[in-house]
């Protein structure tokens, strides 16, 4: 019961000297490593859950945060990514297809694909009407790429939050 290891001291900072009436520390105050060391089986479950949440957030922008009940962040990410994709497609930005010829095309495709399901919606909406001969189209290309990178950032944020790191 009084296992005086440094790990237990870290995880049970809120216990009194006798160990009686111990009040567990709030989960967000405990270092994640200390939580994992108590039960390593839980660490794997947390990791798997975090990965699923990150993938969900990538496929549908904001969904990862919604699964974590972070409603404000979920709605903001959904609207921000959705509006950027709408603007980018509306400005006839270039939505890179898979199998690009050079590194820039492949990088552009990776950035665009970061929007998850919105990539296919944008491709359907825009069709083959991309036109980067004007500034509008060039800006639209940047809007689409930014939407993808922003969604990837949000998915990473949801992953960190799911692993109970500071987010």
């Amino acid at each position: 019961m009084f296992d005086d290891t440094s790990e237990n001291k870290t995880a049970n900072d809120s216990t009194d000297a006798s160990g009686e009436n111990a009040v567990p520390a709030p989960i967000h105050d405990v270092h994640p490593q200390a939580v994992y060391s108590d039960n390593s089986a839980n660490a794997g479950a947390y990791d798997l859950r975090a990965i699923v949440i990150a993938i969900a957030g990538w496929i549908l922008p904001g969904f990862g945060h919604a699964l974590l009940k972070m409603w404000g962040r979920a709605v903001t990410i959904f609207l921000a990514v959705g509006f950027l994709v709408y603007l980018g497609a509306g400005m006839r930005g270039n939505l890179f297809p898979p199998g690009g010829d050079d590194a820039f095309a492949r990088l552009g495709y990776a950035a665009d694909l970061g929007t998850g399901s919105f990539y296919f919606i944008a491709r359907d909406v825009e069709g083959s009407r991309a036109d980067v001969s004007h500034a509008d189209g060039d800006y639209g290309t940047r809007f689409l790429a930014t939407a993808g990178v922003l969604n990837l950032l949000a998915a990473l944020h949801a992953y960190e939050a799911a692993r109970r790191r500071k987010a």
Partner: protein
């Protein structure tokens, strides 16, 4: 589903829209407290616009 009306925005309108959307996302992701989020988003928006205008003026002599 290809009947989308093309958008025609000026350079400055594009800049403002981009700055507003990204600043709101940064503020929401980067801070927890609503007031802190608003402050961070406002600061980020101001920086986006100011730096863009400053860079524009810096490049102006080379544009002709």
């Amino acid at each position: 589903m290809t009947g989308m009306v093309p958008l025609h925005l000026s350079h400055f309108q594009s800049l403002l829209l981009f700055a507003i959307i990204i600043s709101l996302a940064f503020g929401t992701l980067g801070r927890r407290d609503p007031l802190e989020r608003l402050k961070y988003a406002a600061w980020s928006f101001g920086m986006f616009v100011l730096v863009a205008i400053a860079l524009g003026w810096l490049m102006y002599p080379f544009s002709r």
